[in-house]
Amino acid sequence: MRQDAVAGEKSLKGIAVYPGIVIGKAHLVDRSKVKILYQYLVNTEHLNGEVERFEEALRVVEKEMQSLKNGMAEKVNDLSFILDSHLMILKDSMLRDSTIRTIQEEKINAEWALKKSLEKIRKVFDQIDDEYISNRISDVENVTERILRTLSGKAQQSLSEIDRRVIIVAHDLSPADTTELNIGKVMGFITDVGGRTSHTAIMAQALEIPAVVGLESATDVVADGDLLIVDGSTGVVVVNPDDGAIIYYQEKKLQLEDYRSSIARQSHLPAVTPTASGSPSRPISNFWKK
């Protein structure tokens, strides 16, 4: 273990989800929630406009998700299902029809009406005993957040537009976010929240990108452009490392890569188990022993 850490360098510890070491610049992703204002609309004309604005936002989000899905790398095809279900949630009457009805009946703006629909859906899901199903509310939240962003005109910072090799730093990444990642450009990612079985962890494994989740304060500690070392094997993230740290991790990275390629080179050889007598014995599958 390295002992010579100096001031200026900070180290964080989280949950390692995919092994490998990457050294690169941080790209901070802002996913702070959109502020929602309450607005009472008296005029019928305004109300109709509000419904139209909501429906337009749904169309925009649908188009975004469709193009995400179409542009998704084959490697992550398994996860295109997540986008499919988000598209279905977008069209679900519990979200769509209920919001339109609330706009018209309570004479309020689309954002507030949508928020009310989400709360209603949350109540229903809270009552479900099955933990897996009740957790699906997070998918509804992701979809709602996307609609709210579109309504507010605050364009979603798209991860697909990243054109430099960077390490993504985010509070959390939604499934839609992770499918947007430009695989060639993203060296690794770290998040404040998440565990071993979170969407982000599954995504890191599918894409084979070193990642550390559950760091709690990564987005507070790391500034955009900071130099980072991410060790996806131990869960350690070093922010603004000194030269000693860079050399140490460069070496560790080379060793790891050497080890991996030596495994790959030998993988065509038959598996051999050394025995006490010194003569190698070939393993026999349990299948034949039945």
Binding site: I89, S93, M94, I121, I133, R136, V140
Partner: protein
Amino acid sequence: MEVVRRLKIRNSLGLHARAAAKIVELADRYRIRTCFLGRMGARWTGSNILSILTLACPKGTEMEVRIVGEDSEQFMAEMDALFQDKFGENK
């Protein structure tokens, strides 16, 4: 034309998101909103994924499926096959 049948959920995970999505896909293909899925008095149209999920059906649940419309027989046969096939899952 109306067809009603009781279909049993056979996959071990029950009617979770992926399975619900397959029902919605099928219902969307028939483009009619007259497919109802029911359990213990609750009824929802088959084209709403959240509603189907909130029925929270574990393995072994018998659902009442009611389809109204021109192609209801064919629609029901496909729905039946989907349930029989455990929604394409191997457990």
